[in-house]
């Protein structure tokens, strides 16, 4: 697809050109597309296949406009401004053709809006309205022609609702460099297909759900786990707890009509209790736990490599809290799995702890606990169903639900989230830290880890080195980032918590800790390539990777739409919350979390990376390979794609 999307947007955007759109003069840099020029000036042109994160495609033909001197209208999303021309964004024939396009889409769109997950947030509905569809002159099917793809743990594909905009294809190819979807067939047989039209569980999909957040319709959705959760809530035998991750909390307001960037953390606690959850916990607790375990693992690896000169130690160490990234490595770089931290993700650490320590503390049988997690992520659904995630003796996390699902539950319970009174998290995990919160933004895990490692090693306060403990070099939205952190010549004593692992810090004096950060698998690939080529990332000690562009705050389970503006607003809200923790006297560093001190004192008594930690909080990964065979798919070759020829 790259070929035909080589529009002149590549042209150097220096020279300014003035065009008119609907009579209004607009000056833009040469090479700007007409659509961009229009949007920057509040001229609305309907689009469907266009998404600002993706290369223009020019296929839906809705954005066509009249350009002076052109025989027929042109697609404004691909047409660059190269001369001072007059543009009309609409005309009689354009309005008619837009309506025809939508009517044609509806003529093969088998979907019942009432029961569709995208009802009320569907671009096709909006376009039908905008383009003046009042009738179905070309028909409107009521019978499905293809089966639902329910094979996956995370995503559901309903190709009867697909309008072939190709956004999922471009998302997976361009942002993730994975390419699980392709157009196949031609003419009326054209479909969006997977490899051999298999179900998503039978291809090497990483479940990131980025395609869902860019799909204009209900063709791609998350697997809806809410009925099971309601059933558990209604079951008097069950003790239903929920942990909430930081990203959903800054975004769920969008589902209730708020602007992006309004955190609803405390209102959400109230809403969840009113839905019937018995306890509401903060995933930041286990984020802090992850930092301690993962940070300790890193220190151990470094000690082995630098002091004991053990050449078998895999460095750089990669973060492993993103299940999309982990599955990607299992498929495409199984040989590099030793580089992944063995520490489980915060979701799974919490899961193990709830069904062991928490169950014991409260005298609840773990089999009666239903553990739910609210995540920004669809891949977390896959993660919690991995067979190895049962270290508590039970399924550690029973249901992982997305921001969108929880928003639906709250609406079903008749609440308007922003109007609710705030309330606190439940103990014993109640008090969390700002470090856990910033996990949601790209670079956040790195910053959280560095805050703790720096204090551990130097004995100083991070604030003394970085203003407000904000480690700015690792923040931002750049795809691949590299940063160096200098350890001072004077080091502190080894904290008690990890004295069993390293005797002193002398070996780190004056050293430079090199770190890398990437978000979006396409960027992750660049880092892996660079490492293979012996580039600067090969010298890194620690690299954070998140599968989703922007990090968890634009995860596949987050409110739709996603744009750079929305992502930045959510990131701002996350860093704002971290800052507020500092201002309200709450801890901002993982190791300062009192609940963390308590769990190492009372439960994980051998300390971080000790035996019990290993049993409950660490995991090994599966070499999957890129090609799914009958053996890796369980022998079933499920074909779920569209088959119009049947």
């Amino acid at each position: 697809m790259s070929g035909k999307t080589k529009t002149a947007t590549k042209t150097a955007k220096t020279e300014m050109i003035t065009i008119t759109i609907d009579g209004k003069e607009i000056t833009v840099p040469r090479g700007t597309t007409i659509l961009e020029a229009a949007r920057q000036n509040n001229v609305h042109i309907p689009t469907l296949c266009h998404h600002e994160d993706l290369t223009p495609f020019g296929g839906c033909r809705l954005c066509i406009v009249e350009v002076e001197g052109q025989r027929v209208p042109v697609s404004s999303c691909t047409f660059p401004v190269t001369a001072p021309v007059n543009v009309e964004s609409t005309s009689d024939r354009i309005r008619r053709s837009r309506r025809h396009t939508v009517e044609l889409l509806l003529s093969e769109h088998c979907g019942d809006c009432y029961s569709c997950l995208r009802n009320g947030n569907c671009e096709l509905q909006t376009l039908a309205q905008e383009c003046g569809v009042r009738d179905y002159p070309f028909g409107h099917p009521t019978e499905k022609t293809c089966s639902l793809d329910l094979s996956g743990t995370s995503l559901v594909r309903d190709m009867d609702k697909c309008i072939q905009c190709g956004r999922c294809i471009r998302t997976c190819e361009e942002l993730q460099g994975i390419g699980r979807f392709k157009f196949s067939g031609r003419g009326y047989n054209k479909t969006v297909s997977t490899y051999l039209d298999r179900g998503l569980a039978e291809v090497a999909c990483i479940n990131c759900g980025q395609c869902i957040t860019r799909c204009p319709t209900g063709a791609l959705t998350e697997r809806d786990d809410t009925p099971e959760i309601w059933a558990a809530i209604e079951d008097p035998e069950k003790h239903v707890v929920i942990q909430t991750a930081p990203s959903p909390r800054v975004a769920i307001g969008e589902e209730f009509g708020l602007e992006a960037g309004n955190a609803m953390t405390w209102q959400l606690n109230t809403a969840l209790r009113r839905c019937g959850f018995d306890k509401v916990f903060d995933t930041n607790f286990s984020a802090d736990l992850t930092i301690i375990e993962e940070g300790t693992e890193l220190i151990t690896r470094l000690y082995k490599a630098l002091v004991e000169k053990d050449a078998t130690v895999a460095l750089p160490q990669f973060t492993s809290c993103c299940p999309g990234w982990v599955k990607f490595m299992e498929h495409e770089h199984p040989d590099m799995l030793p580089h992944l931290s063995t520490a489980k993700s915060p979701q799974q650490m919490f899961g193990s702890v709830i069904k062991t320590w928490y169950a014991d503390l409260n005298g609840i049988k773990p089999e009666n606990i239903v553990s739910v997690s609210l995540m920004p992520c669809t891949a977390k659904k896959f993660e919690c169903s991995r067979p190895e995630m049962t270290d508590s003796g039970h399924k550690d996390v029973d249901y992982s639900v997305t921001t969108r699902e929880i928003a639906r539950m709250i609406k079903q319970a008749g609440m308007n989230l922003p109007e609710l009174a705030p309330s606190e998290f439940d103990d014993p995990f109640g008090t969390a830290t700002g470090s856990g919160i910033i996990f949601g933004a790209t670079g956040g895990v790195m910053e959280a880890a560095l805050r703790s490692v720096i204090e551990f090693v130097t004995g100083l306060k991070v604030e003394d080195l970085y203003e407000h403990a904000d480690i700015i070099p690792v923040r931002g939205f750049e795809g691949c980032r590299y940063a160096e952190i200098k350890i001072p010549e004077t080091v502190g004593p080894v904290p008690e918590l990890i004295q069993h692992l390293v005797p002193n810090w002398d070996w780190l004096k004056g050293q430079t800790v090199k770190v890398g950060i990437a978000h979006g698998i396409d960027n992750a690939r660049k880092i892996i390539k660079d490492i293979a080529a012996g580039g600067k990332f090969s010298e890194c000690h620690f690299i954070e990777i998140m599968a989703c562009p922007g990090g968890c705050l634009s995860g596949g389970g987050m409110p739709i739409p996603t744009t750079q503006e929305i992502r930045e607003a959510r990131a701002k809200a996350i860093y704002e919350e971290d800052k507020q923790y500092g201002e309200t006297g709450r801890a901002r560093k993982s190791h300062e979390n009192p609940a963390i001190a308590k769990i190492y004192k009372e439960f994980l008594t051998e300390g971080p990376c000790g035996h019990k930690s290993h049993d409950l909080l660490h995991v090994e990964y599966t070499q999957r390979g890129k090609f799914m065979t009958d053996a890796t798919t369980g022998g079933e070759d499920v074909k779920n794609g569209k088959d119009k020829t049947k």
Binding site: R61, I94, F138, Y188, K190
Partner: protein
């Protein structure tokens, strides 16, 4: 297929044109082509010299000359005849183009069905290499090297569209690209590329052999020179003919023995359907243009059958990226089938014509833009051919009807008031469109 009259190419000595061109500066080669007024013979009629001028001006190291030998338009076979009879002229034309724009490699994109010619063409290329007219230092010119290889198509009509052809050459789905940028700026492997039809390239050789004035002297003002036509259908003498541009359709029909035609598809499936009262029209870009396909339909032909056949072709051959082309063609096809049964309401017919007009303006490439032409011509010129009442069924149709019960509705029900019924018929199932 028989050659029916005198074709200029038969009298052009091999390499005469190329040698003449290589005597000149590339710039003046381009000027000569512009002077001749030659317009592309693949259908769009873009002035060949201007195309070359753009490509010569564009920056890029690895420029490419592509010969479009995909000849996919229903009813054309003149490129096949040229390749079979005068391959040297085509390769010469490519070499002249390469010299003019500074290209070092050439590709012939050969229609899958023409695979049988490949061996012969490869031999011809090899002979040219041996003779020093292809490969390094052509005709002894120190700084001009150019070679040609053959790439097989795979049978998709849309891959004849130049930018889809390039995608296909690059190993991707054959889908037309967005323009701009045009292939002359960013084409094959991102380098400036010219794509020319087989016939255009052969005329280039002829023009350098006989002079651009000779070419310009024939034809009309806007369409100079000569054109090969593939004439088929209900005529006594089907085959390839050469006429100067501006020849009337009736002259052509007379030559081929098809004067009593009911209609003529000029330009194949994507052209126009000319009714007898317009047989006096001239074949040229000012009047009725053609890439070379002339299909004649005799008195006994059912034009709805013709339209159905063409529409099926487009519904199948659309690359599918534009909604309006991918689905519009299906709707027109379903509409024609309803029309054949006398089941298409006036309102639905109006909707379909309006849809056709949208397809002409909103599609990305020529395929979609021209795909409703024949349908619209039938409705405009041959309205009488459309049954106004349900057609009596034969036994086969009765069985068909029993299978899809909602297909048959009484005329009364079908008037606009119950539009949904019509919609059900026309729109509901994707399975119904099996070709």
């Amino acid at each position: 297929m028989t050659i029916r009259n005198t074709i200029t190419f038969a009298s052009i000595p091999t390499d005469k044109g190329l040698k003449a061109a290589l005597e000149k500066e590339p710039k003046s080669v381009i000027n000569d082509v512009i002077e001749s007024g030659l317009r592309g013979c693949g259908g769009a009629g873009f002035p060949t010299g201007i195309k070359w001028k753009f490509a010569a001006k564009a920056e890029g190291a690895q420029k490419t000359v592509i010969c479009n030998a995909d000849e996919g338009e229903p009813g054309t076979f003149k490129d096949r005849v040229i390749l079979a009879e005068w391959p040297d002229l085509v390769f010469e034309g490519m070499t002249i183009a390469a010299y003019a724009i500074g290209a070092s490699s050439g590709i012939v994109y050969l229609r899958a069905e023409y695979a049988y010619m490949r061996k012969m063409l490869e031999e011809c290329l090899e002979k040219r290499r041996q003779a020093g007219m292809l490969g390094a230092k052509i005709a002894g010119k120190e700084d001009f090297s150019f070679d040609i290889h053959i790439h097989m198509g795979s049978g998709a009509y849309v891959c004849g569209e130049e930018s889809a052809l390039i995608e296909s050459l690059e190993g991707k789905r054959g889908e037309p690209r967005n323009r701009p940028p045009f292939p002359v700026e960013i084409g094959y492997e991102n380098a400036p590329t010219i794509v020319n039809n087989v016939e255009s390239l052969a005329w280039v050789s002829a023009i350098f052999a006989n002079g651009s004035k000779w070419f310009k002297g024939a034809g009309t003002k806007e369409s100079p020179g000569y054109k090969l036509m593939s004439i088929s259908g209900d005529v006594k003498l089907p085959g390839v003919y050469e006429f100067p541009f501006g020849t009337t359709l009736s002259t052509i029909l007379e030559a081929a023995g098809g004067e009593d035609a009911k209609a003529v598809a000029v330009g194949g499936a994507s052209g126009t359907l000319v009714p007898p009262n317009n047989f006096a029209c001239k074949i040229c870009f000012e009047d009725v243009p053609t890439g070379g396909s002339i299909i004649v339909f005799g008195k006994n032909r059912n034009l709805l059958d013709v339209a159905e056949n063409f529409q099926e072709f487009f519904a199948d051959e659309s690359c599918g990226q534009c909604t309006i082309c991918r689905l519009g063609n299906v709707k027109l096809l379903e509409g024609i089938r309803l029309m054949k049964q006398g089941q298409c309401t006036d309102q639905h017919l109006e909707d379909l014509c309006s849809l056709g007009a949208s397809m002409q303006i909103a599609s990305k490439c020529g395929l979609g833009q021209t795909s409703p032409n024949v349908f619209l011509s039938v409705v405009k010129h041959f309205r009488d051919e459309i049954p106004r009442h349900p057609v009596a069924e034969n036994d086969d149709q009765k069985t068909e009807k029993a299978k899809s019960s909602n297909l048959f509705q009484s005329v009364v029900q079908l008037f606009r008031t119950d539009a949904d019924t019509a919609k059900n018929n026309s729109g509901t199932n994707k399975k119904g469109v099996s070709a």
